[in-house]
Amino acid sequence: MLKDFLEKRLKEKEILLMTHIVLGYPSFEDSFEIIESMVRSGVDLMELQIPFSEPIADGPVILHANQKSLSHGATVKKCFDFSTKVAQAFDIPFLLMSYYNILFKYGVDRFIEKMARGGLTGAIVPDLPPEEGTDYLSNMERHNLAPIFIFSPTTPYARMKYLASFGKGFIYCVARKGVTGVNTDFSTELDSYLKRCRESTNLPLALGFGVQEKSDMDFLKGKVDIAVIGSQTIRLIDREGVGAVEGFIKNLR
């Protein structure tokens, strides 16, 4: 199970690193190469986003990657084929991330069955709160996959507990209000938020939205279990090409 895996790893490392990529961006070949470098440079788990035309929770960088990938012909089928391939090829957990319509149109049961068969570990669906996700939750359960839920600074404590009761693997804590890819000011205010998160669940905590460099990672050590890097790698690829990824990740440690 994902939780066990993460806890084991946490005995070896002070903080784990999860990276996020948009499948098919800039191309599927590049996606493969990026994943390869990431795994090689010590990433602990990865979030693979199936692009969607209306990614309302994503900021401009990831939004743009979604659109580009789609306009280059990415389909759900290609994303599944690709994900299955990388799950086979690399020995870290892979999560699928997408908006609920992608699952819904595919058929939630079929989608989840396919995930399971493809060797994926869990899923993040940012526009699916548990209230709307009965179907999703039961299927994920059946296939022993981890549904990752999200905490945000606006989430009341009671709701954190409620969300945690459905979550598996870890909780994805959003560092601040807003969308992905905007600078976060990791102030001390974060502490009280993370304290609440910690108290509400015994799942490991991941922190996303705005992690960009080594100093962020260092700052988060001891506070959370997993740091998430999303938009920053896409920015890097746009600026310096796929080859720059490995160095960037290695430097974070």
Partner: protein, 408 residues
Amino acid sequence: MIDRGYYEGFGGAYLPEILVATFDELEEVFNKAKNDPEFWHEYAEIMSTYSCRPTPVTFAGNLTEYFKGAKIYVKREDLNHTGAHKANNVMGQGLLVKRMGKTRVIAETGAGQHGVATATMAAKFGFKCTIYMGEVDVKRQHPNVFWMERLGAEVVTVREGTRILKDAINEAFRDWVTNMDNTHYVLGTACGPHPFPEMVSYFQSIIGKEARKQILEREDKLPARVYACVGGGSNAMGIFKGFLDDPVELVGVEAGGRGLDSGRHAARLSSQDASVGIAQGYKTYFLQNNDGQMRHTHSVAAGLDYVGVSPILAYLKETNRVRFEAATDKEVVDAMSLTIKKEGLIPALESAHAFVQAFKEAPTLPKEDIILVNQSGRGDKDIFTVADAFADPKWREFIRNKAEEYNA
């Protein structure tokens, strides 16, 4: 968060977690207002002193004669302040914003109509205001941008996606997840996550309430049919709500664009091209491909050029309470032209869709019958689009001369 706002499977609230608390607050404030008899009174009062409610119902005598069938009446939402039914919704939400103590409003806009309405409400109530508008719409509806800026609103051009209404909605959500503390998102139609479909329909129901009373006073009988155009569905819901419990046939008219076969339309409930999906926070019929990616839509009327549709209308379609039809761009221009010439009324291109279907059916109905068409807005704001739709050479000449004057 208990009531998820479902209409037999349509609707719901598919929200990023960060917005859940904001929606809880909104729902609470809305429910309180709805159950407070003073609130509707306050709302009706502001609509009658700031806008011009009740808007009249006009007997279209010349059109009636022309079509030799049912008596045609027109509900005149074009006479609202800012020129369309959008005012009803924004003023209502404005009152809620005051109750929530928020100080900033944001909105998406397609035709620009809802943007102008929101900016107007913000000016009136003293809120800060940001309007998101797709780049395509900014280009075709520039006069509305001009007015929004004069009204003190910031207009943000959205260059993502198809760069029209749906993309503006996405951007507005992105703003909201950042600024929900002081900001309310004034959604412009009966779509989006619960409670928006219900709330927008509630405010727009003032149309149907008035219209039912007015027709009964004038004719002492109910209309046989009521026609409304359907973009997101707010003006349709607004007028239909007055007649839901009556033996009145309700007809929603969508944008048929270049024709239902062409793929270039925005017909979600009257074509085979749409399917149920979940996007922008709610479940309804969307024009999407098999992967669930939203498709390009097309309409001569920017306000109808949208991939989704009110979940309440989706439900009313499935339960056969409302019939849905489509009108093509060409039919729309013809109906608009006829309405202007015969009655001196200038419906918005959006509203003209409802006229198309009413004109098709009027001749088939007996003379004793009454039909009621919702003129959701006035067309004179959209002169650039309308002049292009009419392909008026003098207009082009005028614009060329004006450009030369500016270049000089």
